[in-house]
């Protein structure tokens, strides 16, 4: 499959170049003296020397090196501007054996892609980032880069980069101060020593990735003779004399770290999947003989309302589950969001013989209200001959204007729960009361769902069962406050 390469990770012929015939089939699209070509060569050499050509995925950025994929005979993906590290992480996690190289310029990495590079570096997942810093936007024609030097003129800083443009961004330093990266170096291309250092650094970060040791980052100070308006030799001198003042070259981080990155191959074992999803093959026991047609022929609407923390949603979910266990259809819609931190919390539940058509409960058959505002708000919406259960430990006034025939049950849910030493079980008290007041399902069905929900906290089952029975008793015996003799028992 692989084409013969004779020691280079470059394509032998740059067919992907739109004009890739003749001369363009063997030379780059870069301007004479551009640093990109050198960095390409060092990367290609490192890939070849490390024997990773088949595994390598090069991410082409947006910028002059957008056409990286013309040249590298490796897997190639071209990314949106600044997003190469995010794309690279997608590749790396898809195939941990792949060697991912994110190759980016200064506009791409240090401007539009700042969030993506910082996050990739913060994660520390082994990918290799080559950051080409030439202090200017090349592809778009010489605009100011995040790394443009103070006072330096560009087409968008025509009077020189000044105070309003802020000082240049030092990416290698930023990356190096994060904990996760294992290797960070700034190198250059202006003389033999710095070129060797660049070669070595690129190979090093690839090797660290191969060994699963971590995220590697090499910033290469590079020449853009075209937009610096200099000869290649003068550009080298400029990088050496001016850029390095601002961007000192050298290693910023070189940690010894044990290989740590390893991912198993995903499993597709059906048994394991159903187990992890907690899907059960066992049918739950059924206790109801018929649908609660005395509440509605085909579809019973309930509303449970209270403050966040009252447990309205949990009780609603238990109801819906119980009904589904009994073979009915059921839905639960919570009011969701900030309520979980103490606002109001409403739940709409429907239990239908065949199918829940409309899952909202603007006019419920049954209302459970955990506080006075809920009772005041939703009491009048209950249907004629409907049923209301409210927490009589916190509600003293029942609205006078209720629809015709509505039956109201005050149950001291909170009092009972507190007396049991578990204030959170007041919703279970309410469920017991609901069952007794409406005969909606059966006690056993609801208790089964409660036990099922507490499967991971078995110690909590007895107190919940007790709470449920107290709710049943409260309705049966008609006490709206806990009888004094029972308090604290």
């Amino acid at each position: 499959m692989s084409t013969e390469t004779k020691g280079t990770a470059f394509f032998q012929h740059f067919d992907r170049h739109a004009h890739g015939k003749g001369l363009k089939g063997a030379s780059t699209h870069y301007c004479p003296g551009c640093g990109h070509g050198l960095i390409h060569k060092y990367l290609a050499d490192a890939i070849t020397e490390l024997g990773i050509q088949d595994r390598t995925i090069a991410i082409s950025p947006v910028g002059c090196s957008v056409f990286l994929y013309y040249y590298f005979d490796v897997g190639n993906t071209q990314a949106a501007h600044g997003r190469a590290p995010a794309v690279g992480l997608g590749h790396k996690l898809a195939n941990p054996e792949s060697i991912v190289v994110s190759y980016q310029g200064d506009g791409d990495l240090a401007s539009i892609g700042m969030a993506e590079i910082m996050h990739a570096a913060q994660l520390g997942i082994p990918i290799s980032v080559i950051f080409v810093n030439n202090a200017i936007y090349g592809m778009t024609g010489g605009q100011m880069a995040p790394t443009t030097l103070p006072g330096m003129k560009s087409t968008t800083s025509p009077f020189g980069r000044g105070a309003m443009e802020g000082p240049p961004t030092k990416m290698a330093e930023l990356i190096a101060q994060l904990e996760a990266p294992v290797y960070v170096e700034r190198t250059a291309l202006f003389d033999q020593r710095t070129r060797k250092a660049t070669q070595k650094a690129i190979k090093k970060i690839l090797q660290l990735q191969m060994e699963g040791r971590g995220f590697g980052f090499v910033e290469v100070l590079s020449e853009c003779p075209t937009h610096l308006k200099m000869t290649p030799t003068d550009a080298e001198e400029w990088v050496k004399n001016e850029m390095t003042k601002y961007f000192p070259i050298g290693k910023l981080k070189d940690e010894t770290r044990d290989p740590w990155f390893h991912l198993e191959k995903p499993t597709f074992d059906p048994e394991r999947i159903t187990k992890v999803l907690e899907a059960s093959a066992e049918a739950p026991p059924r206790h109801c003989k018929t649908f609660p047609g005395h509440l509605d022929e085909v579809d019973v609407a309930l509303k449970l309302a209270g403050a966040g923390g009252d447990g309205a949603q949990t009780a609603a979910l238990l109801l819906a589950k119980s009904a589904i266990h009994e073979g009915f259809d059921a839905t639960h819609i919570p009011s969701y969001g900030p309520e979980s931190r103490g606002g109001t919390s409403y739940a709409d539940v429907h239990i239908a013989k065949e199918e829940v058509l409309s899952p909202a409960s603007p006019r419920p058959h049954v209302l459970i209200a955990f506080n006075a505002p809920s009772l005041a708000k939703f009491g009048p919406t209950v249907r004629e001959n409907g049923i209301i259960v409210y927490d009589s430990s916190v509600v003293s006034d029942v609205p006078k204007e209720l629809p015709k025939g509505v039956k109201v049950f005050g149950v001291p849910c909170a009092e009972i729960a507190i007396s049991l030493g578990r204030p959170v079980v007041k919703n279970v008290v309410a469920l017991g009361a609901l069952q007794e007041a409406t005969a909606i399902l059966s006690e056993e069905t609801l208790l089964h769902s409660i036990r099922e929900a507490l499967a991971g906290k078995c110690a909590m089952i007895p107190v919940n069962e007790e709470a449920f029975q107290w709710g049943v008793r409260s309705v049966r015996e008609g006490f709206t406050h806990l009888p004094e003799a029972e308090v604290g028992k």
Binding site: L23, Q78, R83, L89, H91, S280, Y336, P359
Partner: protein, 488 residues
């Protein structure tokens, strides 16, 4: 001098003009030396002169003659003085500039020929395998969509928390590590979509959960995915907008999904489930469609649908995914592949657009989905999707009990709009009531579809809510009365 392949270079290397002052035999002699001296094909030298500085012996000078092929002035190497130190090679920016590679001397085709034909890697096909029979589950819509994805073979999920979609990410964060999959919390929705682009580019099924403001942020990447023909599944649990809006249920991203998937000529299948069961079923289906068409697929639900809990039956089979031949997986078989959306040649990009549009036409022809309820003899059709479709179903049931000739038509794909199934119903239903939680975005899709299908004479009225309010059963009933009574 033109070669027979239409290139501008000479037909054989031996005919190339030698650099001034260098006998061409020198190129050949390089082979005999142990440390080979550099070879330079003058037409591949851009004359930047970086090698001149690099050479410690001063063997290289700027040339004086313009190369006829490149139009540039190449350097001249004095190979007599050269001691083959190789420093000039390290300083040359061109891959095939100064180097010691010798094969091109033997076979110029390597450099100037047509190149190697692109190999075609076969697909490693997906497999459908049986799933043990289990009892119906009681699941929130977001969970149901997540489980659908797992059963479709998705083991890579990327996401950024946003209400009311977050439970999808939470379930994946819990479940995927137990299946040796990966959940990665991205730094933003912008990063999320690009993680998907990379992972899907590697050929694996992957997905995200988001909600309206997050979806807006993803549009850039979605355009790239469509352009590069990369599959992935997005669940967008729509909430109230514009701006930060609220977290209530809305359907006001229909316009984005159907008409605004980022820049360029983009389209994608937009699935619109109406209950938790369909959240699971359509999530599984979404992956199949994404890979069949090599295009992202979107599941649009409203906030209620993400949050609603209901009965969900798992399917009898699940998917073990393969790797498509086009993937950039990072192994030998897929090395020659490229994922990109850039094309600088206008006519080529036009062709690419035409191919994409042919694909969209195939989707329109084959992937329309809808359901209907008591619509066969209806004189008025309520059209609604997502949770409003359930409210409408309740309303239609009530109205039928009253003897009203009303039916429900529910698009399960918002794009392509299911006009083929709607058309025959409009033979008897000359009135349509569009019920939606947006300022008419579903109605616009309907009107466009009617217009493209040359269907006229339909009286369209609507019931709309916005800002996190859903149309309720009662008001749909009232509205139908109003429409039928006013026009009767």
């Amino acid at each position: 001098m033109r070669n027979d392949r239409g290139g501008v270079l000479g037909g054989s290397l031996r005919e190339f003009p030698s650099p001034a002052g260098t006998p061409k035999e020198d190129h050949i002699m390089a082979k005999a030396k142990e440390r080979p001296k550099p070879i330079l094909l003058p037409q591949l030298c851009k004359g930047c002169g970086r090698c001149i500085e690099a050479c410690p012996r001063g063997c290289i000078q700027m040339g004086t003659e313009i190369d006829q092929e490149s139009g540039l002035v190449p350097v001249v190497v004095d190979r007599e003085t050269c001691n083959a130190c190789g420093l000039c090679i390290t300083a040359c920016p061109e891959p095939y500039g100064l180097n010691t590679i010798e094969y091109e001397l033997e076979d110029p085709k390597h450099l100037f020929g047509e190149g190697v034909a692109k190999p075609v890697t076969p697909d490693q096909p997906s497999e459908r395998i049986p799933l043990p029979k289990v009892q119906p589950m009681v699941l929130k819509g977001n969970y149901a969509a997540a489980i659908g994805a797992i059963l479709a073979g998705c083991r890579h999920v990327f996401g950024y928390p946003i209400t009311p979609s977050t439970e999808g990410a939470e379930l994946m964060a819990k479940v995927l590590p137990q299946l040796d999959g990966v959940f990665l919390q991205a730094v933003s929705e912008v990063a999320t979509v690009n993680h998907l682009y990379g992972c899907a580019g590697a050929g694996l099924p992957c997905m995200t959960f988001t909600s309206s403001p997050g979806f807006s942020l993803m549009l850039e990447g979605i355009s790239y995915m469509i352009g590069a023909e990369v599959p992935a599944v997005f669940v967008n649990v729509m909430r109230g907008g514009p701006g930060l809006g609220n977290i209530g249920p809305e359907q006001a991203d229909i316009k984005l999904g159907c008409r605004g998937l980022g820049h360029g000529n983009t389209h994608a299948i937009i699935l619109a489930p109406t209950n938790p069961q369909e959240m699971l079923d359509l999530s599984m289906e979404a992956f199949r469609l994404a890979f069949e068409y090599r295009n992202p697929v979107f599941i649009f639900g409203d906030g209620y649908l993400g949050q609603m809990t209901g009965r969900v039956q798992l399917p009898e089979t699940m998917i073990r995914p393969g790797i498509p031949g086009w993937a950039v997986y990072g192994d030998e078989a897929h090395r020659h592949n490229l994922i990109n959306s850039i094309d600088l040649i206008e006519v080529d990009l036009e062709k690419r657009n035409e191919a994409l549009n042919e694909k969209y036409a195939r989707m329109q022809a084959n992937e329309q989905r809808s359901s209907s309820f008591r619509a066969d003899d209806a004189e008025l059709l309520v059209i609604a999707c997502n949770t409003p479709a359930r409210m409408a179903k309740g309303a239609v049931e009530r109205l039928r009990r009253e003897g009203m000739p009303v039916g429900l038509f529910t698009p399960l794909t918002l794009w392509p709009f299911p006009i083929d199934a709607l058309k025959p119903l409009l033979g008897h239903a000359k009135k349509v009531l569009v019920v939606e939680a947006s300022a008419g975005q579903l109605e616009d899709e309907l009107r466009l579809a009617l217009s493209h299908a040359d269907i006229t004479g339909i009286e369209i009225s609507h019931l709309r809510h916005m800002g996190g309010v859903l149309p309720q059963e009662g008001e749909i009933v009232d509205k139908v009365h109003e429409v039928l009574e006013v026009t009767a």
